[in-house]
């Protein structure tokens, strides 16, 4: 595999040498057919649940950002970010960082050691589409999809012939971002490669709350360097058989920003992730078959003045699926997922291995034009840690339809689970063989309203209520021996309301797009299995209120985009004794598209945190004040 990786790297450098740099960024704008027709089971087999896809024009303007920044700005997900350069972990529907699954081309990519993804190391560059599945969907996506799932796909290169893109960005706090892609497509083959590189000093000024009078200081030890590349190949071997190869490499070298008032102990983290995936799809009279084989390598090195720890995990995955459609209203998909982990970690005694097997059946039935039903079932088998079978049942009912209006009722009951991580199992002196998998039950229901006025106006409004119970929630806490150990600590109840509305309209030559969303999340412990607990109190770092608002106007090559994020008070202890103030963040971007013969040049000026708001998402980790970014993007042709 090492050899393979070098071969990719060689190919990349060769390409970069001839075309100055490679990139992709905005391929998702071209909404053309790709070979990945089997990518998203969510919409077909998750009736009654909500899947939201991030706007592609937003993704192209913010291609230099991390997934954490994009989702914080555009979705109800809350991210706890350890300063400008630090790790970023998610809380979705009141759950913890391990309880949101992250999938790339349909396969789970969470670090097997920690059982979670650091969203700060996931770039927007090199990603085709970003979708967010709200709520428990473990029957479809497997372990960890308790609060929801984030679905990433490889870029799709739509344009026929040869095309390429180059982007260069410079911004405040000594931040530089370069991005490039090149692709070729004909009747039979699509090939594309992209690469990005970003450095940032993050030497912004902040008020130091740990010193008298909160003096202004310059942030130290928060610089970062990240880069990565993707390669994608799709080949239509026959009209019915396709093969696709995807590779994704990301690297991050970060100085971890210390908390205000905590020692600056030279904490650094290096992350290197290589993900390779091959997918073979074939259509026959028995339906569609898909086989995915993947290899992931996740390397993480953390060092500080007194620690030096390395985790190196090889993951092999196989997913085989068969989809069978009967007429227009039946669809059945059965499948098998195999995961094999080989992990080396300073905390483990020797190399550890684990194999997980999942069997799943997804069933969709539309008995009437206005009614969709889905029933899913999944059983995962892990030696010593078998979760109970996970079912999901959902419906959509279009109960009112008039010329311009459509009203639907939707509902969903789903189970979810999370298998203990490799660290939970194998950490020397901590691995707890008594640990049980986490188990969740979620109930949700809602209304969706659609208003369509020809080509001029589309207004989509949705309201959802959910109620979720998560039992045997695993948490690490210090033991009486002074070491940290994982245990099934508590049972948590999370309840909430999600409201969202999106609008697109055309008024003369002006195109308008807008989204608004509000979420109320009440997440509290209802039972404690160790200690006395803090029942009835909001879990730490779960905002009760979060609202997002975005608006975009396009006119004659000009584009103005504004994103507003309001995040309410968050407690920083589970006893509600201290908290972080609510904050309001405004990001603005102005773009001008210039046509140079058949090529396009896009100039963008951005202001992030335009109102210079002082905020923290993790207590005492300073976040950047107002900053500016200028970007040039050149698209050929």
């Amino acid at each position: 595999m090492r050899k393979l990786y070098f071969r990719f790297f060689f190919l990349l450098t060769a390409l970069a040498g001839t075309t100055a740099a490679a990139q992709q960024a905005d391929s998702s704008r071209y909404q053309l057919q790709t070979v990945n027709v089997f990518g998203k089971p969510a919409e077909v087999y998750a009736a009654g649940s909500r899947v939201v896809t991030l706007d592609s024009s937003y993704l192209s303007i913010y291609s230099g950002s991390s997934l954490a920044e994009a989702l914080q700005t555009r979705t109800p997900l809350y991210f706890k970010t350890y300063g400008a350069s630090g790790i970023s972990s998610v809380s979705f529907r009141g759950t913890n960082a391990s309880q949101t699954a992250v999938l790339w081309n349909g396969l789970n990519i969470a670090l097997p050691t920690l059982g979670q993804s650091d969203f700060a190391t996931l770039p927007l560059s090199g990603i085709g589409e970003v979708s967010v599945q709200h709520g428990a969907a473990a029957a479809t996506y497997g372990s960890g999809a308790i609060g929801g799932a984030v679905l990433l796909s490889s870029p799709t290169y739509g344009r026929k012939g040869l095309s390429s893109e180059l982007q260069q960005e410079a911004g405040s706090f000594v931040r530089y971002f370069s991005n490039g892609s090149i692709s070729y497509r004909d009747e039979k083959v699509t090939i594309g490669t992209s690469a990005y590189h970003r450095t940032a000093e993050n030497n912004f000024k902040y008020s130091d709350l740990s010193r008298f009078g909160a003096p202004e200081r310059r942030q130290e030890h928060a610089s970062q360097k990240v880069y990565g590349f993707t390669q994608d190949l799709a080949w239509h071997i026959t009209p019915k058989t396709n093969i696709a190869l995807h590779s994704w490499y990301t690297y991050a070298d970060r100085n971890l920003q210390p908390a205000m008032g905590s020692a600056h102990n030279n904490a650094k983290q290096e992350d290197e992730n290589l993900r390779l995936l091959t997918e073979l799809t074939h259509s026959s009279r028995f339906g569609q078959s898909s086989i995915k084989v993947a290899y992931f390598k996740d390397y993480l090195k953390y060092t500080d003045n007194s620690n030096n720890s390395v985790a190196d995990v090889h993951t092999y995955q196989l997913q085989a699926e068969q989809t069978y459609n009967q007429g227009k209203n039946w669809s059945l998909r059965g499948g098998l997922n195999l995961q094999q982990f080989q992990a080396e970690n300073d905390g483990y005694a020797g190399e550890k291995e684990e194999t997980r097997t999942s069997l799943f059946a997804l069933f969709r039935y539309d008995p009437l034009d206005i009614l969709d039903l889905s029933l899913n079932l999944r059983q995962t088998l892990v030696k010593g840690y078998n979760p109970v079978p996970t079912p999901a049942l959902g419906f959509n009912l279009k109960f009112y339809q008039q010329q311009h209006h459509q009203l639907s009722l939707k509902g969903n009951v789903s189970g979810s689970y999370r298998i203990p991580t490799l660290n939970d199992r194998f950490w020397t002196g901590a691995g707890n063989p008594e640990l049980k998998p986490e188990q969740g039950w979620s109930y949700e229901g809602g209304l969706r309203h659609l208003y369509v006025l020809g080509n001029e106006l589309l207004l989509e409004t949705e309201a959802t209520y959910y109620h979720m119970l998560i039992d045997d929630w695993i948490q690490w806490a210090p033991s009486s021996a002074g070491t940290w150990v994982p245990s099934n600590l508590q049972k948590v109840r999370s309840r909430g309301v999600e409201l969202s509305s999106s609008l697109s309209a055309k008024i003369g030559d002006v195109n308008l797009k807008g989204t608004a969303g509000y979420t109320y999340t009440s997440s509290e412990q209802v039972e404690a299995y160790i200690g006395e607990g803090e029942t009835g109190k909001q879990l730490m770092y779960v905002p009760l209120h979060k609202a997002i608002l975005s608006a975009e106007a396009n006119y004659s090559g000009w584009s103005l985009l504004g994103n507003l994020n309001y995040t309410g008070l968050r407690y920083t202890t589970n006893s509600e004794t201290s908290s972080l103030d609510d904050f309001l963040l405004l990001n603005l971007a102005l773009s001008k598209k210039i046509q140079l013969r058949q090529n396009t040049l896009i100039l963008t000026l951005r202001s992030d945190n335009a109102t210079n708001s002082v905020y923290q998402t993790m207590a005492y980790r300073a976040m950047p004040p107002r900053g500016y970014t200028f970007s040039l993007r050149f698209i050929i042709p």
Binding site: L209, S210, R211, F212, G213, A214, A259, M260, G261, S262, A263, N305, S306, N307, T428, G429, A430, G431, A477, P478, S479, S480, A481, T483, V485, L489, I530, G531, E532, G533, E534, K537, M540, L569, T572, T573, N574, S575, T577, S578, S579, L580, D581, A619, Y620
Partner: protein, 364 residues
């Protein structure tokens, strides 16, 4: 930071009330120090969560029976630090060791107003003052098995005047007869430093893992050692037992070693009462008490709360005047903890909420 404002107004109210009381009582007691924390009470050292500067000091006023939390922050309008390990009052000053902030905050012990910060330390643990001019602080420096050190602090300039290499992972220290005794918890020694030369004079070998020490009324040094612990859950078979060692300070020799008959649990939090004729320590989630002249370990616990929670007795203190026993009880490291008070006979009296993870008590 809403909490700041809330506490500020609460504090203001409390100060107004207490200062008006102080005014009325001043007529009778002109010589007493003044300040919001000048009255008899106890300070609780709340460690906070590691990696977050939310360590704090709480104050319990014996007369008003009221608790005030985050008093350093209230008085100085800034955070105290990350992992508050230790606080010591010497004269009118209090020295607060912030382990993961690599500093010691110095405040007026009566008003809690900041007097300065001692910086340049590496994982400081415990502090002891020799006199008004000189103090000592143990520093782990590194967890990689290399020796820790003791820094000599000039208490007039708040700077480090000298560093002295000691054993691995030095923890508690005591000063007696001009000598500084340092428990090296990563090994099996007590380092003896001569305070007139600030050089290591000798080392005393004790049971593996000395973690806390105290001097009794007969001027004997008592050391609680953990023993060697193996595995998790700690293996009874593979671990070695902890012990209490008694050291004659005239000869620096161990005169007796009281070894525990269970291997897995460790004795810790060794402390004494006002008369220094009794020892108190935590063992197997229970509190034991014994006479300093006893030649065997007491097998009957003074406080036994049954199968107690994992982090009960995270802190242990004995009020030198009343003999009341204070327990710091940690719920988890992400929410406020409790302090539980027991009568001298070990019966629970009352409890109140403090900051996160109270690991020690300072009586005033």
């Amino acid at each position: 930071m809403r909490k700041f404002n809330y506490f500020r107004s609460l504090f203001l109210a409390v100060t107004l009330i207490t200062s008006s009381l102080a005014f009325t009582s001043c007529d009778n007691d002109n010589d007493g120090p003044s300040g919001a924390y000048a009255e008899d009470g106890v300070f609780m050292v709340n460690e906070g969560s590691f990696g977050t500067p939310n360590g704090s000091i709480s104050y319990y006023n014996n007369r008003s029976q009221q608790v005030q939390n985050t008093i350093f922050q209230n008085e100085n309008d800034r955070l105290l630090g990350d992992v508050i390990q230790n606080m010591v009052i010497h004269g009118d000053r209090a020295f607060i060791v912030a382990n993961n902030s690599n500093k010691i905050e110095v405040v007026n012990a009566n008003t809690f107003n900041s007097l300065g910060t001692i910086e340049g330390l590496e994982m400081p643990r415990y502090f002891a003052a020799l006199n008004e001019d000189k103090g000592y602080v143990t520093e782990i420096v590194s967890y990689n098995g290399s020796p820790g050190r003791v820094s000599v602090i000039d208490l007039n300039t708040f700077t480090v005047s000298k560093t002295i290499e000691v054993g691995v992972q030095p923890q508690q220290l005591v000063i007696a007869g001009g000598k500084v005794y340092v428990a090296n918890s990563g090994g099996n020694t007590i380092t003896v430093i001569n305070s007139s030369t600030d050089a290591v004079e000798s080392t005393i070998t004790v049971t593996e893992g000395p973690n806390s020490l105290v001097i009794d009324r007969n001027n004997a040094l008592w050391v609680a050692s953990s023993g060697v612990k193996v595995g998790w859950p700690v293996s009874e078979e593979e671990s070695s037992p902890g012990a209490l060692s008694k050291i004659n300070l005239a000869s620096n020799t161990v005169t007796s070693t009281l070894t525990f008959n269970q291997n897995a649990p460790s004795p810790s939090k060794l402390t004494t009462n006002g008369n220094r004729d009794k020892l108190y320590y935590v063992f197997n989630r229970k509190v034991y008490q014994q006479d300093v002249n006893a030649t065997t370990l007491n097998t009957m616990p003074l406080i036994d709360r049954g199968t107690y929670i994992e982090y009960g007795f995270y802190g242990l203190g004995v009020d030198p005047e009343t003999g009341y026993i204070y327990e710091g009880k940690v719920n988890d490291f992400t929410s406020s903890s409790w302090v539980i008070r027991y009568s001298p006979t070990g019966a629970p009296v009352d409890s109140f909420r403090v900051g996160i993870a109270p690991n020690g008590f300072v009586f005033k």
